[in-house]
């Protein structure tokens, strides 16, 4: 089962935002101040922390925190 607290911690650390400001419907770019490079960095960090490989073509599909949760849960993380 996905450890959402761990995910939130990774998002906060990578994007430099407070965890209390990270909601499931938060948009990475509009709400959390990320750019495409930040989102890539986030995905690479998730790969390392959860020991999975996320294909490059998936990265552009992650618009919100929820998108990421759904994807990771779908991967059985």
């Amino acid at each position: 089962m996905l450890d959402k607290n761990k995910l939130k911690s990774i998002i906060g650390e990578t994007l430099g935002v407070k965890e209390e400001n990270i909601k499931e419907d938060s948009k990475f770019i509009d709400d959390l101040g990320a750019d495409s490079l930040d989102v890539t960095e986030l995905v690479l960090s998730i790969e390392d922390q959860f020991n999975i490989k996320i294909p490059d073509e998936e990265v552009g599909k992650f618009k919100t925190v929820k998108d990421l949760i759904v994807y990771l849960e779908g991967r059985g993380v």
């Binding site: 495409s36 490079l37 890539t40 960095e41 690479l44 960090s45 390392d48 490059d56 073509e57 990265v59």
Partner: protein, 137 residues
């Protein structure tokens, strides 16, 4: 931490200066490009690494602090900071060798992209080299 850097030194020549003998600002970016090339060719198998990825400059800047003039002898120290999984900032510290003053500091945020245009991890061979030269202010 030990202040290791890749160093490049050169003498400012007439092509670099205006009619008053002062270096053009644009030259600093040109020198950064030269330093970057010379730095990367120290990376083992750099040409092979570039078969899979391309190097992209996301952002470049230069803080111009003091004028330099024709025939000044400059040392540029190349170091790195903000080393992440997908990007890092290469720093350039320009020092007038005669006065030992820092005349300019510049930086470039660098990323790597694959043939599909996706940002990818910094290749391991490059990570190993850039970590040897951490930026020290």
């Amino acid at each position: 931490m030990k202040n290791d850097s890749f160093n490049y030194d050169f003498i400012v020549t007439l092509k670099d200066v205006n009619m008053y003998g002062t270096a053009y600002f644009a030259r600093y970016f040109e020198w950064q490009g030269i330093c970057r090339e010379l730095y990367f060719i120290t990376v083992p198998n750099f040409q092979e690494i570039l078969r899979d990825v391309v190097l992209v400059t996301k952002y470049a800047w230069n803080d111009y602090r003091k004028q330099i003039h024709v025939f000044d002898h400059l040392l540029v120290k190349v170091q790195n900071r903000s080393i992440k999984r997908s990007s890092f900032e290469m720093m350039f510290t320009y020092i007038n060798k005669k006065t030992n003053e820092v005349v300019s500091v510049g930086g470039e945020t660098l990323i790597f992209m694959n043939s599909k245009g996706n940002i990818v991890r910094i290749p391991e061979g490059i990570i190993q080299v850039i970590k040897k030269h951490p930026y020290v202010e």
